[in-house]
Symmetry: C2
Subunit: 472 residues, 2 copies
């Protein structure tokens, strides 16, 4: 699929060569230019075409990042931050080349404040690494975008969320402070460790979700939570998608605070059954998890059961053991792998939208009609409580008819979500893939974004060609 035009201007080859020579002198073999490595650092997991950076650099400290940004700025060369490379909309691509900054070596957990329930980590710390570290303290970091190796820096940059956002919030709510290197090489810490502040513009929230276009995130302070006394999990097939959505709406209105409420459509259940060796009924299905004290977790279950049964819930299958629970959520997280294994020979094209929850069932239904009409294979999974759902068309990229149908499908899906007062992306971000919908969703807000981008990065060296579409 052709990439969108961007404002990004390619640096001269001479400038790139000069800057690489300077970097090598300073960072030796922490600068690499081999094609395999450069390819690994451009977009790999999705359908976007890979666009390779000119070099990959592995900084070890915030000060080194500032130094690298300084060198890049001097020579007007793009800088693209790279965490685990699990973003889905071309965020790590290098449309006009430049330097990929790999945060693999910045993976120190710098402080854990148990009493304050926060942790300060370097950008390259993965969420799995953080949670492994926290387990013995009885704490956890809840944001769960699926990929275990996703880094806190990358998750902050893309405003990641996932299965637990309905209870614990997204990265927007869970990042307390960011340390970032700005385009002029200055190091800025956006906030102190207080839980809230009214002291000026919310630079934390401005950088969270900015996908490396306003500053390079080198550290983040995130909120932690106590591991719940009790965790209960179940799957629950429903007569209809509407019934499942209604049950979720009512449980939110009642303030039950259910930790996870994930919708799978029948096709997705089929793929999961086959891949994860589960015998689930092939109907719209909720995967549920309840966190609380012994008493409150069971209270949530009782309330939810009553609501769900009135909305056409067929049965509750409880994960009786910790192992069963893990198996269930592994199956949920492996949904994409299940699709790949079920429809071999096809590529998976992940996309997401998010609408007000009252429109979710309708949005899913219209989307399923589109899928049928366009003869696509496209299972659906959703973070129902947020009104957020994903569909993963399985495409044959060698078939132009397939690719044409996909183009139409994606455009209609994004426009449908926006028409229903929703957003073209709930959690995957804009990157390159969703820039074309920004004007429709944000109107003149796009110009405000452009002004901010120009004010903070006048040379356009921070991840150019992402988020903000070229001026009309």
């Amino acid at each position: 699929m052709a990439l969108l035009p961007t404002n990004a201007v390619a640096p001269s080859r001479e400038a790139v060569a000069t800057a690489i020579a300077i970097l090598r002198q300073r960072f030796a073999d922490r600068v690499q230019t081999g094609e395999a490595i450069r390819r690994q650092h451009s977009n790999t997991v999705t359908w976007h075409e890979s666009q390779l950076p000119d070099a990959v650099v592995w900084p070890e400290t915030t000060a080194e990042v500032a130094e690298i940004v300084g060198i890049a700025a001097t020579h007007s060369i793009p800088i693209i931050a790279f965490g685990a490379g699990t973003s889905l909309e071309g965020q790590v691509n290098a449309p006009v080349g430049g330097f990929s900054l790999d945060f693999q070596r910045m993976n120190r957990i710098l402080e854990i404040n148990e009493q304050d329930l926060d942790a300060r980590v370097e950008a390259g710390v993965s969420r799995k690494q953080l949670n492994d570290h926290l387990r013995d303290l009885g704490l956890f970091f809840p944001v769960d975008p699926g990929a275990e190796d996703a880094t806190i820096g990358g998750m902050s940059a893309t405003r990641a969320s996932g299965t637990t956002a309905v209870k614990y919030g997204t990265m927007r709510e869970n990042v307390l402070s960011i340390t970032a290197v700005m385009a002029d090489g200055k190091i800025v810490k956006t906030a102190q460790r207080a839980r809230k502040s009214s002291a000026g513009y919310d630079l934390t929230r401005l950088l969270v979700g900015s996908e490396g276009t306003l500053g390079i995130i080198t550290e983040a302070t995130v909120r932690l939570y106590g591991i719940p006394e009790k965790t209960l999990a179940a799957v629950c097939p429903f007569e209809s998608v509407e019934g499942a959505c209604n049950a979720v709406m009512q449980s939110i209105q009642l303030g039950l605070g259910i930790a996870r409420m994930e919708l799978l459509d029948a096709l997705q259940v089929k793929a999961v059954n086959s891949y994860s060796k589960l015998g689930l009924e092939e109907r719209p299905m909720l995967f549920l998890e309840f966190h609380g004290t012994e008493v409150s977790a069971r209270d949530q279950v009782e309330h939810f059961k009553a609501i769900a049964e009135a909305e056409g819930a067929i049965r509750f299958d409880w994960a009786e053991t910790e192992e069963e629970r893990r198996r269930l959520w592994k199956a949920r997280h492996d949904a994409a792998w299940a699709c790949k294994a079920t429809w071999t020979g096809r590529d998976l094209l992940a996309t997401d939208v998010c609408v007000p929850i009252s429109r979710l069932a309708e949005c899913v239904k219209e989307t399923q009609e589109d899928i049928a009409r366009l003869k696509l294979i496209a299972p659906i999974v959703g973070h129902v409580g947020d009104g957020n759902f994903h569909t993963t068309p399985m495409v044959d990229r060698s078939n132009p008819r397939d690719m044409e149908a996909i183009e139409e499908f994606l455009a209609r899906l994004a426009e449908r979500a926006i028409r229903m007062e929703g957003t073209c992306t709930g959690e995957h971000g804009v990157g390159q893939g969703k820039m074309k919908y920004m004007r429709k969703e944000h109107g003149d807000g796009v110009d405000v974004m452009r002004r901010i981008k120009q004010a903070l990065d006048p040379q356009n060296i921070l991840n150019p060609g992402k988020i903000v579409p070229p001026a009309a």
Copy 2:
């Protein structure tokens, strides 16, 4: 107390006169220039000196606001948005004159989406008005800064929070979308109604807390919640401030989700007793409220009691009836009035800071030592769960020694909070009063804020002389 120098440049008298004439032609008696009205629209509730606008205008629609901003922009005249005038740091003052925009006539509740738990309202809707409207629907808007007539626009602009933030969050978490008129007269809607989005820079959070310096908020879409099935309230005296703070910390770690946990020091309890005719023990005291289902609210109480007793809680006095509960919270909200009534002839100077909760007891203790040393009368109330506390020195403004002591006290308090990794203001905002601490708290982040301000308001007409201190 002398006001800080600002970057704000006074418009010429001719320009002001011309613009007022144009406004009058267009808005007739919705433009007022009488001194009493102008005084009412400058800072009235706090210690900051009043600085009067040149005129007050009452717009009725977003389009009219855009028109007024257009006129002001043409003549380079400041525009200061005015809600209920309950801000505490000089936010509505007009240091170089200009037009105060009073949102009194923009008080329509535009839509309530019961299923999605959100409401879109004009900026002049008060939180009391919204909650009165919602009651019959079984819904409520939780953010509670104290003043009942505080407007949603003003609360958004100052990133208000208050007693319920520990459970429900502040305006940062509870505003889904803002409609604002930008300095160039363009109308921007920052987001759709989806609960979350990754579609670009978080303009909502950028405007929330910007105190009218980046755009004039004309509408907001806010989150609503179901009125809990069960509400329980109690007061609980403690042996020590440390014990109260520890109990709160542990209950947060356990994820109990207690709705309100308010600390009053012994002096504040004394004032409240006298003003609200309560017979509370004059010790450090928690005011508590528990929201949930019948079962979960009682479960929270049981867990909290066990924790609190181990931390030196002396007794729980339960509000048995709805009326008792209202009386209790009215007493809490009347804390400032209680101070005024107790120490007549003195002015109340409200200030606030916020620190990580682990540092709260220590911060309160050091502050109490300062109060004693400086011979001030200064009760303390705190939103303990957030690490946020207020102190309200009662000052004799005619006594220069008193005012000197206050200057020292305030500076030391703000610096203490920042030293303890906290913020110079948790919820009152920067306005004019806290600009001088911005550099200490944010370092080079202040320059980022200034660049954003300059990019979005190059003429500096939106509430000039607030938040961003003059360049060093």
